[in-house]
Subunit: 343 residues, 2 copies
């Protein structure tokens, strides 16, 4: 069975491209609230689980010992755009434990922000590991190693004590087995484990509500969410979907995207955890899917619902700034129009 | 009915993402050689029909009058990467008719080549309309206007005499109605008309074989293909699929990609025209689909078949250069493995 078409790309009045996907929404008791498509098929969550991967940073007492505030904690959960504020904060985090960017094992790439790339090139600069979109997470990993007295070298590898801590957190929160034979290597070189979308949604419902977690883990999850929602720029960057959605949410939403069309999210006031995957891996479509899903979970008349519904229908402009089309949620994610409600 | 999955993206040993699509292959007599998925659904060909859109440049005598060689003609059919050689050749084409980049109505953008963007920024430069990937096509349009004594202003608009010439060429070659109600605006601001994939394949079979075309149009098509296959760098650029496939082809293949996952292609020695569309618009998957389709149309043991089959299975590396997965043709496009043949 093919997953349903959830997003359409329009040009003129014609549907030009179509994106299929799956959506899982779970409540604090683990009950299924929404299930579209194959939600039991294993999916690599990639960067969408960075907040879970950051649990050891809090639980080990590292964040407290280093007096990390919301910004540092948000950056440890981030896929940032390599803007100067991100790069300098990652550098400062490493400096707290006497390390510098040479300790990072995530690899170097030009900032994902086009503007930051142009500015860096104009200054005659070159990209380093601090510009890697994962450098905040890796700085958090390195700080955790140093504070725990673990040799940080090789911290990205499967079997390193730090990755064992991360895997324990992922298994504990999602309840899914993280198996070696379903393990791939992420863009930043750490292991990523394929688990069912439904388990990811369950994990984020637990992160949001604390249900099913130890008191210490529930408190750590709450602190991570509070940091990310307070400092959404440090979770992504200028113009990014996560930043825009969490800014609009004003503390009511947590969202985090990952490569290949994945998003995990939570609405703590409703105790809901959400996970989506665009079959073809397109970020543009995953952004529409998560915004449309979050919108429909909020009550009619809620201004945040309206804001998210608008984000789910972006317009597309060409190089001269002419509006040439747009994206819209489709099929079971299409907003209920008045005509539909009369049927 | 959903189109079949034609490409899989793998990470570790797990399929991470899936791309669906449709494929049409037609012979010189208009007979269907291969049909996968919905080949009668209208598709915007976008830049994949630039060679057809360049017919007026040849047929009007403009290319002869301006003594354009293979490079200029190839650039008129190009989606180029904005490398310096592309930019300077487009500038020179305009200069032949006394125009400069201020006449271009395609809009400005940074080069699609990341290296060219970095180099331009390091020099303190800014992108102009000549860097637009369509600037060669637009320079060809402008030259055609000037030589034909047509006021070039507004040449991108539907109803301008130049766009009427382009539409006549598209309808004549593909045999499909190019209707105003199936018209969108392309990235470079010219009209793009949605037509069935099967009609695009038929058009490229005619371009390749001359069958069904007037002698003058058949000669113009032959000249366009000869120019593109002789100068594939000027059709795209460093590292691009079209350039790589036509370089490997050594004159035996014509290919041209378009935005949103479209490719048109031809194998003149077999009289075949090919058109593919990736449902979700992903370029990475469209490149696999076209390479895999072209490979299977060539005879076993042909070295070009082997080269194309290899291009259809690219590996994916992460930021540290570690191989983390790859793309591969799937379902009806999967290569026949020895095990399959014993069944």
């Amino acid at each position: 069975m093919a997953n349903p078409i959830l997003v359409e790309a329009l040009r003129g009045g014609v549907v030009e491209s179509r994106h299929r996907g799956a959506v899982a929404v779970v409540d604090a008791d683990g009950g299924t609230v929404l299930s579209l498509g194959e939600v039991e098929r294993p999916v690599f969550p990639r960067s969408a689980v960075k907040a879970i991967q950051a649990l050891p940073l809090i639980e080990s007492g590292t964040a407290d010992a280093l007096r990390f505030g919301n910004r540092e904690i948000a950056l440890a959960c981030a896929s940032h755009t390599g803007e100067p504020a991100h790069v300098e904060l990652a550098r400062a985090m490493l400096a707290r434990v006497g390390l510098d960017e040479t300790a990072l094992e995530c690899g170097a790439h030009w900032p994902t922000s086009h503007e930051a790339t142009i500015a860096l090139a104009r200054q005659g600069g070159s990209p380093g590991a601090l510009h890697n979109n994962c450098s905040g997470k890796h700085s958090g990993f390195l700080c955790t190693c140093v504070q725990a007295g673990i040799d940080h070298r090789g911290y990205v590898g499967q079997g390193h004590p730090l990755q064992d801590m991360v895997r324990e957190a992922l298994e504990g929160v999602t309840g899914a087995v993280h198996a070696v034979d379903a393990c791939g290597t992420d863009g930043c070189s750490i292991p990523t484990y394929a688990v069912p979308l439904m388990a990811l949604a369950r994990g984020f419902a637990r992160m949001a509500s604390g249900a099913g977690l130890s008191a210490a883990r529930a408190a750590a999850a709450k602190r991570l969410f509070a940091a990310c929602t307070a400092e959404p720029f440090y979770v992504a960057g200028t113009g990014c979907a996560d930043t825009a959605m969490m800014q609009a949410g004003g503390g009511r939403l947590f969202t985090k995207g990952g490569a290949e069309g994945v998003f995990c999210a939570a609405i703590p006031e409703l105790g809901l955890g959400i996970a989506i995957k665009c079959d073809d891996g397109a970020g543009r479509a995953a952004e529409v899917m998560i915004a449309a899903t979050l919108a429909r979970l909020l009550p009619e008349g809620d201004r945040l619902r309206t804001a998210l519904a608008a984000m789910a229908e972006p317009t597309l402009k060409n190089w001269r700034g002419i509006e040439v089309g747009g994206l819209r949620p489709a099929g079971p994610l299409a907003p209920q129009r008045p005509a539909d409600m009369t049927r």
